[in-house]
Each structure stands twice: as structure tokens, then as C-alpha cells.
């Protein structure tokens, strides 16, 4: 049992779409400072769990507790303000903005300028904007896109767009980062870059919850692996233990019985 003050605790989380049960009462915990992966065959409910945790859909039943407070019913932006930021399964950037502007939007919560400050052109605005621009630069360098700053996001190759996405999410300064298939569609080399980044992000004290299909990536970075199948947790533990779990093998390989 984790300390109530830290980490994420999901208990009995259920989501139904009409008559279809996408998640049937799932419970798991994410300890602070770890990388936890959720795996499972397509349709197992991984993304549904992400959407419920981050407020994009309302669970039918169950509770999500983050740092001791319930998140259920909050809007995504309010959940982001509490330190939980997610990325999306499909590439998701601000397409016609430059890489820098993409990251500057990500820094939104770090700005404080209100409507009147902006209208009156207060001097501290310029100071704040300069600080945000420096932060944006540092984040862009962190994901290795220093040479792309001024380019329009939609003009970048796929792998680089995913890195922009990561920089945007990091800009919101998450304490819990949810990554939905960050390696999808990437080359082996790009995946290696991403797993390196995920480790570095954890080293900075960010807890990471990962949904991913690439087993090499998952087994390489995770402290804990949770296996979902048909909307239920069928196994949970260290990567090696989970890999050897008979039910996991059955779910993935479809062994008779």
C-alpha cells in the first residue's frame, strides 16, 4: 500500500460505453518516482484508463486518487494544474505553430499574466515572456530539436513531431506524466532516443505511467509492469516476473485453454 500523500491510486475503475464494458473494475497503484507501464492486447482498455485518469472521460464507477485527493469529475485542464499531464496515442501537436510556440503553449500554467496585465502592457510581462522563452528553449534542447525551433510543427517528420509532443507535455511541468504509446511508428533508433528521454525524465523526479506495445521499450525502462486484458488487471510486477506469468503469455499468444 502506498503512502496516501504520494503517487496515484486507481481503485475499481470501470468505464462502460453503452452496453460495452471497456474497463471492468481495475485497481492499480503507481508509486512516486517510478516508471510504470500498462501493457495488454489491443482493446484491453489501456487508453480508456488514461482518458479516465486525465479527465477526458468520466468513469462509470471507481476512484482515482492523486497525492491524497480524488480527481474524479475534474476537467482535463484542472487535472493538468494538479501535475498530471498526458500525451496522446495519435500524434498531437499544434500543427501550424512553430516548435517554439508549441512549447510556449505547454508553458501556459507557468505564466501568470492576466487579462488586465496584458491590456495595460505591464512591464513585468516582458520579463515573464523572456523567462518563458528561455524555458522553452531549454525544453526543445532537452528533446534534441534545437535545430528545429522555428519550423512549423506539421512540417516535421513523424518521429520529431512525437518529440515536440513530449516537450509540450514536459513544459506543463508534470509530476505524473502519462505517455500513450510514445514509441508507436518510430524506428529502432528513435525508440532508443525516446527510452533514454523517459529515463532522464524519471531522474528529474517525474513519475511516469506508460502505455506501450513495444516490449523491448517497456521491459527496458519499467520498474513495474501492469498487464490489462479485457478490461481487467491480469498480472502486475517487475518486468521479468510479468514476462514469465502464464496468464500474460496466454493473453498475448492465445494459447488454448
Amino acid at each position: 500500500m502506498i503512502d496516501q500523500a504520494g503517487g496515484l491510486a486507481v481503485s475499481d475503475l470501470a468505464v462502460r460505453f453503452g452496453g460495452v464494458s471497456a474497463l471492468g473494475g481495475v485497481s492499480f497503484e503507481v508509486r512516486p518516482g517510478t516508471i510504470t507501464s500498462v501493457i495488454g492486447p489491443n482493446g484491453a482498455g489501456k487508453t480508456t484508463a488514461f482518458n479516465a485518469i486525465t479527465g477526458y472521460l468520466r468513469p462509470t464507477r471507481g476512484e482515482i486518487v492523486w497525492e491524497g485527493a480524488a480527481l474524479t469529475g475534474l476537467r482535463p485542464s484542472a487535472i493538468a494544474a494538479r501535475g498530471i499531464v498526458r500525451t496522446f496515442q495519435k500524434t498531437s501537436v499544434f500543427p501550424s505553430l512553430s516548435v517554439t510556440d508549441n512549447v510556449l503553449v505547454g508553458l501556459h500554467l507557468r505564466g501568470t499574466a492576466g487579462f488586465l496585465d496584458v491590456l495595460l502592457g505591464r512591464r513585468r510581462l516582458a520579463v515573464e515572456e523572456a523567462a518563458l522563452a528561455r524555458d522553452a528553449d531549454a525544453l526543445i534542447d532537452f528533446v534534441g530539436l534545437g535545430h528545429r525551433r522555428r519550423e512549423t510543427a506539421s512540417a516535421l517528420p513523424y518521429g520529431e513531431q512525437r518529440l515536440v509532443e513530449l516537450a509540450v507535455a514536459l513544459a506543463a511541468r508534470p509530476r505524473l506524466l502519462l505517455l500513450d504509446e510514445p514509441g508507436a511508428g518510430m524506428s529502432g533508433a528513435e525508440k532508443a532516443v525516446v527510452s533514454g528521454l523517459i529515463r532522464k525524465i524519471r531522474e528529474q523526479g517525474v513519475t511516469v505511467l506508460l502505455v506501450e506495445h513495444d516490449m523491448r521499450l517497456v521491459m527496458g525502462v519499467s520498474d513495474t509492469v501492469i498487464v490489462l486484458n479485457h478490461g481487467r488487471v491480469i498480472a502486475e510486477g517487475a518486468p521479468a516476473a510479468v514476462q514469465a506469468h502464464p496468464e500474460v503469455i496466454r493473453a498475448y499468444l492465445g494459447t488454448a485453454g
Partner: protein, 317 residues
């Protein structure tokens, strides 16, 4: 170079009434300015948050009627009446923003159209308040101390100041984290939410500022023509505003102003150049050509061209 160009441009605008000669041209310039305010206002919603308001005449008309009624019925001085017009239009913008919170795209368009329809019907049918289709004649001209701004020359400067102020408001918003939140709403709403941008808050804010500016434009119009009738709610005005924003370049600061000048002057120029049968046809053909060859609008096209020239020059050096 750039500052020199800007000062020449400013000088031209400031001296316009002295060398334009023909008062009719000055009238066109004043109308271009009023439409400039309206186009800037529409652009804030359409160009930055990506939401199309086809009911923008509602805010324009509410501004015009409010300022006219406050001066005529309550005998307010013109300046506070104009502020009242801006405030009431902003309130209407807030209402629309709240109503349209969860609506996007076509549904947002429908809400704005319906709102304009309702306000227009009120202006026609609430005889006691608005004098119905007969309208409100005798709206007073503003005065600056002992000097009346009734003359076109004087009113031109008032409109110019209003355009400059509206531009400043838009420029400051757009260059801030608020403007970036507007853009994020246009570009990718779920992603914006995921990094903590309270999208609905910013949509309401954009609607309020946009409506306030349009209301100010309405007040300017009322005290210039000194007559307000339900015609201020004509759908044609909304269409004209949309054309100005799109042709000038939506999502740019200068685009709506370029569009406003062009599409206020164009019909007048065509009226001089051709007979009335050909006017609308020529207008339509020109608009088609513009959209076809400069799909993103005039200002973005010029910016791209200038950028290419600069790059070529640098390459030569």
C-alpha cells in the same frame, strides 16, 4: 527601413483629411475605419480561436442601439453612452460565449446566427424602445469640450483613434499567453486542455473582447450616421466582415485592416467604374480570384513574398 515605412504610413493616415479633397472619399475612409474595428473584432474569434461567428452584426447593432438610446432617451453625454455600448455588447458576448461553451464548428455558427436573428427581431418589434423599423433619427454627434466632432474631418480622427486602440488591444492579447491560448484552442483543443489551458475560459474571454470591440464599432457608426435602424442587423454586414477578415488574412493582425480598406473602397470604386448591373458581378469575380490565388489572404501572401526576397538578397550577399 521598416521604421521609415511605418512613419510615412502614419503620416499619410494623419494628414488624410487635408489632401483627400472630396468629402465623399473621406466618408469612405471613415466607413473603412469602422469596418476595420469590426474586422479586427471578428478576427479575434475567427482568426485566433478558430470559431466563426456569423452573428457579429448582433454585437455591432447592440452597440449602435445602446449608444443611440442612452443619448436620446436618457440624455447621456455621447462618451459615456459609447462606453455603455461597449459594456452591453461585451455582456452579450459573455452570454454567447457561455451558451456556446460546449459547441464548436457548425453548432457555434448556428448559435451566433440565431442570436443575431433574435436581437434583430427585438429591434423591429419592440416599438416603444427602438421605434421599430422607423429607426432612431437625431443621434447626437460627439463633442470634445466646445468642439463638435460632427464634421467628417473631425470624425475621421475619432475613428482613426478607435482603430488604433482596437489594434493595440488585439496586438497585446495576441502577443501574450492569452493569445497563445486562443491559438491552442484553434489548433488542437484536447492537447491544449492536457497542458492546463482552460479552453472554455479563453473562448468566453475571446467572445467578450470581440463583442466589446464590435459594440464600439456600432457606437461609432451610430454617432456618425446619426441614425440607427434595424438595418444595422443586416446579414450582409456580417458577410462583409467575414470577407474582409478572410481576404485580408485571418489570424494576422494587419489582415483585417487591409481587408476592411479594400472591401470598403472596392464597391465604391466599382460604382464609379461600371454601371450597377456589373458592380456586384465584378465584385464577385474579384473576390473569387483573390480567394483562388491568395487562399490564405493578402497579408500572409505579402509576408511570404517579402521573406523570399529577403532570403534571396542574403544569398546574393
Amino acid at each position: 527601413m521598416k521604421t521609415a515605412g511605418a512613419s510615412v504610413f502614419t503620416l499619410i493616415l494623419l494628414t488624410l483629411p487635408f489632401w483627400l479633397g472630396n468629402p465623399y472619399y473621406l466618408h469612405v475612409a471613415i466607413m473603412a475605419g469602422i469596418f476595420g474595428v469590426l474586422a479586427l473584432s471578428l478576427n479575434l474569434l475567427l482568426g485566433y480561436t478558430g470559431q466563426l461567428s456569423l452573428g457579429h452584426t448582433a454585437f455591432f447593432g447592440i452597440g449602435a442601439y445602446t449608444s443611440a438610446l442612452l443619448t436620446l432617451r436618457l440624455e447621456w453625454p455621447v462618451w459615456p453612452a459609447m462606453l455603455g455600448a461597449v459594456a452591453l455588447a461585451a455582456l452579450a458576448g459573455w452570454l454567447i460565449g457561455r451558451l456556446a461553451l460546449k459547441l464548436r464548428g457548425a453548432y457555434f455558427v448556428l448559435v451566433t446566427i440565431s442570436f443575431a436573428g433574435v436581437v434583430s427581431l427585438v429591434s423591429v418589434n419592440w416599438m416603444e424602445l427602438t421605434n421599430g423599423p422607423l429607426g432612431l433619427p437625431g443621434v447626437p454627434a460627439p463633442a470634445l469640450g466646445p468642439w463638435s466632432l460632427r464634421a467628417k474631418e473631425a470624425y475621421y480622427y475619432l475613428v482613426l483613434a478607435a482603430v488604433a486602440l482596437s489594434y493595440l488591444v488585439c496586438a497585446r492579447l495576441v502577443g501574450s499567453r492569452i493569445g497563445r491560448a486562443f491559438l491552442a484552442l484553434r489548433e488542437n483543443e484536447p492537447l491544449a486542455e492536457s497542458v492546463g489551458v482552460d479552453v472554455t475560459h479563453y473562448l468566453v474571454l475571446a467572445a467578450v473582447v470581440s463583442a466589446a470591440l464590435a459594440g464600439g464599432g456600432g457606437a461609432l457608426y451610430a454617432h456618425y450616421t446619426r441614425f440607427v435602424s434595424p438595418e444595422v442587423f443586416l446579414f450582409t454586414y456580417t458577410v462583409t466582415m467575414v470577407i474582409m477578415v478572410v481576404a485580408g488574412g485571418k489570424g494576422t493582425l494587419a489582415g483585417p485592416l487591409v481587408g476592411a480598406v479594400l472591401f470598403t473602397a472596392l464597391p465604391e470604386a466599382l460604382r464609379l467604374a461600371t454601371s450597377w448591373q456589373w458592380q456586384m458581378l465584378a465584385y464577385g469575380v474579384l473576390l473569387l480570384l483573390l480567394v483562388f490565388f491568395l487562399p490564405r489572404g493578402i497579408v500572409p501572401a505579402v509576408v511570404v513574398r517579402a521573406e523570399a526576397v529577403r532570403r534571396a538578397r542574403r544569398a546574393v550577399k
